[in-house]
Point group: C2
């Protein structure tokens, strides 16, 4: 579970950007929070019947400070084409903090600074521009 301070911005990031799908969404009027369960494309079908992993977003209706700590490191997802994924994220204005210079690994951050590792499924892709020359931005 990760806490999000802006649910729309977070759904835009995790779904439209990263490609996850909304599995369920519940608003809790009394507790004043919303829970959204997300799943990766490969887990979408199996999540209903089995133990496929899900990412839970908690949106508390009353604002809180969601800075990060050091004990949690990052989430990680394998992707089919790490260059295509990063291109799509950049088109949405998302910074690739650690570009996939090696055709294998990239890091981005969610709107609430959750670090997310993207890993090329299987073998690394051939190294190529513009990725090869792209520098790091900030921390991840």
């Amino acid at each position: 579970m990760v806490r999000v301070s802006d649910l729309d911005a977070s759904l835009d990031f995790y779904c439209d950007g990263l490609g996850l799908s909304v599995i369920s969404r519940r608003d809790y009027e009394q507790g004043r929070f919303t829970l959204v369960m997300l799943a990766a494309p490969a887990d979408r079908e199996s999540v209903i019947t089995s133990d496929a992993p899900q990412l839970e977003l908690t949106y508390n209706w009353d604002p809180e400070d969601y800075r990060g700590g050091r004990n949690f490191g990052h989430l990680a997802y394998r992707v089919e084409d790490i260059y295509a994924t990063c291109e799509q994220l950049m088109e949405k204005g998302i910074v690739i903090n650690r570009p996939p210079r090696d055709g294998r690994m990239a890091f981005i951050r969610s709107p609430d600074n959750i670090s997310i590792e993207l890993l090329q499924n299987g073998e690394a892709l051939p190294i190529r521009e513009p990725w090869r020359s792209m520098s790091n931005t900030g921390e991840w």
Copy 2:
């Protein structure tokens, strides 16, 4: 990925306590860190061939401060018998911060304060003592 300040204490907690298994362990002399990949019992077999979820522990050989933040919430695992799991954890001296009074849900914390939710697989178990009367301890 979660960072751990004491690898032995963490393996004791995650493996001997929670029941996860070590899938791989690599020491990186140059970077001065150790990575340990863990998987839940139900994922142990499939983790080699498929995309079953894993928990990565990063142990940096040079000490750091691993306090938590608020953007990350918790990890969550389904268990076959939440009372048996909590009993086993208590026998190891692990505090059940939120006991499974409802036969359905409990929260504990790792040695580095990562919050972990335990969820009864399927229907909630019948409510019973000593769980019913057990109070909360600290935060989770």
